[in-house]
Amino acid sequence: MLSDYSTIGIFLMLTLAFPLAAMGMAWAVRPKPKCKPDDEKLLPYECGVDTIGRTWSRFKVNYFLYALVFLAFDVETIFLFPWAVKFSQLGLFAFVEMLLFIGILLIGLWYAWKEGALEWH
Amino acid sequence: MNWPILSLTLFMPLIGAIIIMTLHREREQAIKYVAAGATLVSLILSLVVAIGYDRSLGGIQFVESIPWTADLGVTYALGVDGISIPLLLLTTLIGFSAVYASWNISERVKEFFSLLLILITGVMGTFLTTDLFIFFLFYEVVVIPIYLMVIMWGSSKRVTKEYAGMKLTIYLLIGSAFLLVGLIALFVQSMAVNGAPSMDLMTLAQTEFSQSFQVFVFALMAFGFGTLLSMFPFHAWSPDGYAGAPTAVSMIHAGVLKKIGGYGLIRIGIMILPAGAQVIAPIIAVLALGNVIYAAFICLSQKDLKYIVGYSSVSHMGYVLIGIAALNLVSINGAVIMMFAHGVMAALFFAMIGNLYEKSHTRNVDDFGGLAHQMPRLATGFMIAGLASLGLPGMVNFIGEFTIFVGAFSSFKVLTIIAVSGIIFTALYILRTLGNVLFGPRKEKWDHLQDLKGPEMVPLLVLGAAIIIGGIMPFTLMDLINNGVGSLISQAGLMQIGGIL
């Protein structure tokens, strides 16, 4: 019986070992620095544009509001699609149910609109 | 008996408290009269019960029973027998006197008397019920009003009133936690044996528990009830608590509340768990000796009047414990009558001390002297209480002590002889205190003190009368108690020893 637990033990060890191995491997195969890293070396990108200003600047909250509103309607399609495929078999009850579902989502949209989530100030 | 006389007796103070809560707080006189009226009705009803109890029939009478909570086996069951009637009388006597002893309270009168009346109901309930659950309900009801009364109207002398109140509360609650474990275990075990839940004391008494279980539960009870009875070494709350408490609380606490401990040990401990009692009793007896001797020695060195009476009550509880531990008819008779006797005596003592403290603002024995000149009535009260305390024949306390020693001698010979010596120490500290406070040359500085008058006389008259009537005519109570204890002992199947006096 106890030996059955070994699966979990091995699993645990593997999960621990995997990230360590990945990092260790990167450390082992990377080109060894010849000298102390200079300013050039420490840039976030060796090619590309340097950042201007503080990198921890805040994003405008509207991005997130858009993302959330989008997500809500995105998920809605997941429900709508199978419903549409089987619509003829499902009958009136499912039709009313879907109307209610969309109705609730619309109230959410209305709320977001009214509260100014869709405006970009 | 068709109308519920016991319920009326029990709930009269509570009804009084509710009426007081509806009164306006400025109407202090009305509040005091309601309190006095409610306790007076209770007192009269309890006298009716005591007289109406049919001694030839015995057993539990005036039974009231209403099913309460089926799955816990709880019944709202009231009933009295020879053991509970004296304690019921004690409660109503002291409750009535306590209202008058607090007549001069002037701060937050409304709260004071509502809490006092709730407290009296709680104490009375424990003596009246024959249901274990209801018993515990009332048992813990009393603790919280006491805490609030101590911190609001108490006095800070040697220790602050907050400390005294909290110490008292925590000691009693920890004791009751152990007790509660015992009670729940009893309930669960009886359900396993009988197959149906029951909290009725008689049903539990007829249930067969194994000996080891009985010893375990009795030990828990001895700790819980022992703490309440200030059994050595769990007595430390008692003197501090009395010193911090207002007069009425000291009276009720020393007078009646402690007796719930003794009553519980007899009614629940010995009746339900006789085999457990036989194993634990010798331990209780030895600890009781600690009460008698150790507390008496501490008394000898006390200077504060309340501490003297506080420790002396610890010492007297030692006699009660010895009486219970001896487990025979005579000794338990003695323990019950001693509880009654000590109750009225301690209440009278605290009433007198409270009155004196209120007027002179000191309780220090050395400050006083010759008070019999200025306050002859107060001095009478002190003398009655003091002489009762040292067991002078003619006072009810003598009957109690004598009976206990007669009974206990047949069970514990050496121990009883040592315990009897406690009487000598009691006489020593009581007489010394009385002498220093009351007698000797007149002191000019106390000339302004007013003697007892008007409502202040009530505690002296009521309690003093109880002490002397009980002492001269012991048969009034003794028959009753003998009747109750006799049936309890035969119920528990303990050995019977001899008749009485």
Binding site: - | L72, F178, L180, V181
Partner: protein, 469 residues
């Protein structure tokens, strides 16, 4: 299957939407009626679920259970919601423009609790749980200008998400072994396998987080202190009861495993919770923190009943959860009234309350003593059931620990009483709570005393509800 069995749930969902819409439609001045609408809506929900009590039916192939057990908890949550709305209306009014959303989040949190209590399947349970906790994340951080509140909200979000993940992992392991998520079917597919044991342990940890059992309790005091006080009250009472409702249903029905005594694990958790909750509460100086630690300890007591797992223990769980609503919300209602008046939640603010408002002081004392388990108040009877169950199941040591610590708890409850009755305060103006708070206070007081003096009706109700097990 009848849709009418879901009437209370549908009504609550509609109420939440209605409140949201009303907030959009009504002019700013007209929003004073939001509290009244919430109140009336909840009263209807209460009546609907009371009417549905006693039905026993599985809906949607066992995914949702319309049974007495669920109905009992529905009644409990709706009562708690009603009392919070009544006692908190003065406080919520001060939130100004955003008060309307506050009510609607409160109602959605309530819906989540109801779903949790009635869920017959683990995923549905999880959805209810998330609906409840996400509403609470927002409510906790509702005081945007108050650092403590925002910090509490963020902390709750992160720790709540972690604990949900742990719970979900546990659910997935149980599903992996048993092949079903329907609670009543899992027991039939129970196998003693390492993955099952791991799943049970993870589920215990997840629920323990939600119930703030020691050692998973660290989040509770900060969040209770930071949140707006009606939210704290609802969180302490409702979310805890909901987690217990689900915990008991899942563990008693689905996961009895003779080879793995999780009862003992829970017993140790309960003992630690009772001891630590009470000891740490001793040194608190803020009433919200004090009540937070006390509610940690209370969860420990309720867990004792589940550890016992017999008739008296389970009845105790339900009984205690119900009386806890009244006693704890009574204490919180007084704290809310004091905070509205003084702006402070420290125990200092309660000084001389006995003179400023004797009614508030008396109700606070009674409610706290009921929590401490002093007869003849409701808490005592609840503890009697719980510990009868524990002793009956052989956990004598747990009864000793629980009852001793409940006597210790009297100390800190009495410290509040002491401040109220003998403290002195510079400000001696009388505190007069508004009518709706007073109604809530009287309900709490009456219920706390009545349940304590005459427990038979509630115990009969609890008896019906546990027939399931």
């Amino acid at each position: 299957m009848q849709i009418s069995m879901l009437a209370p749930e549908i009504e609550i969902a509609l109420l939440g939407l209605l409140l949201l819409v009303l907030g959009l439609l009504l002019p700013h001045k007209g929003r004073g009626i939001m509290g009244t609408v919430t109140f009336l809506g909840l009263v209807i929900a209460l009546l609907l679920s009371a009417a549905g009590f006693g039905q026993e039916e599985a809906l949607f192939n066992g995914v949702y259970q319309a049974d007495s057990y669920g109905s009992f908890f529905k009644l409990l949550f709706i009562l708690a919601g009603l009392l919070v709305v009544l006692s908190g209306s003065a406080y919520i009014q001060r939130l100004g423009r955003r008060a309307n959303e506050f009510y609607s989040f409160l109602v959605f949190a309530l819906l989540g609790m109801v779903v949790m209590a009635a869920a017959g399947e683990l995923i549905t349970l999880y959805i209810g749980l998330e609906l409840m906790t996400i509403s609470f994340y927002i409510l906790t951080a509702y005081l945007l200008n108050n650092e403590l509140s925002v910090e509490a909200g963020l902390k709750y979000l992160i720790l709540g998400a972690i604990s949900s993940a742990v719970l979900l992992f546990g659910i997935s392991l149980v599903y992996a072994v048993s092949g079903t998520t329907v609670i009543s079917e899992i027991a039939g597919h129970m196998q003693f396998q390492p993955a099952m044991v791991a799943g049970i342990i993870l589920m215990i940890a997840g629920f323990a987080f939600k119930l703030s059992l020691v050692p998973f309790h660290m989040w509770a005091p900060d969040i209770y202190q930071g949140a707006p006080i009606p939210v704290t009250a609802f969180l302490a009472v409702g979310s805890k009861a909901a987690a217990f409702a689900a915990f008991v249903r899942v563990f008693m029905l689905a996961l009895p495993l003779p080879q793995f005594e999780w009862g003992l694990v829970l017993a140790v958790l309960a003992a630690c919770t009772i001891i630590l909750g009470n000891l740490v509460a001793l040194v608190q100086t803020d009433i919200k923190r004090l009540l937070a630690y006390s509610s940690i300890a209370q969860a420990g007591y309720i867990l004792v009943g589940m550890v016992a797992g017999n008739e008296y223990g389970l009845k105790g769980v339900l009984f205690y959860a119900m009386l806890y609503v009244f006693s704890n919300l009574g204490a919180f209602a007084v704290a809310t009234a004091v905070e509205v008046e003084t702006g402070s939640t420290s125990i200092e603010a309660f000084k001389a309350l006995g003179k400023r408002s004797p009614m508030l002081a008396a109700i606070m004392t009674v409610c706290l003593l009921s929590l401490a388990g002093i007869p003849p108040l409701a808490g005592f009877v609840g503890k009697f059931y719980l510990f009868s169950g524990a002793i009956g199941a052989g956990y004598l040591w747990l009864a000793f620990v629980g009852l001793l610590m409940s006597m210790v708890s009297v100390y800190y409850y009495l410290m509040v009483a002491k401040a109220m009755y003998i403290g002195t305060n510079d400000d001696m103006t009388p505190i007069k709570p508004d009518t709706s708070t007073r109604v809530a206070l009287w309900i709490c007081l009456a219920a706390t005393v009545l349940i304590g003096v005459y427990p038979a009706p509630l115990s009969a109700l609890a008896q019906t509800a546990i027939q399931l097990f």
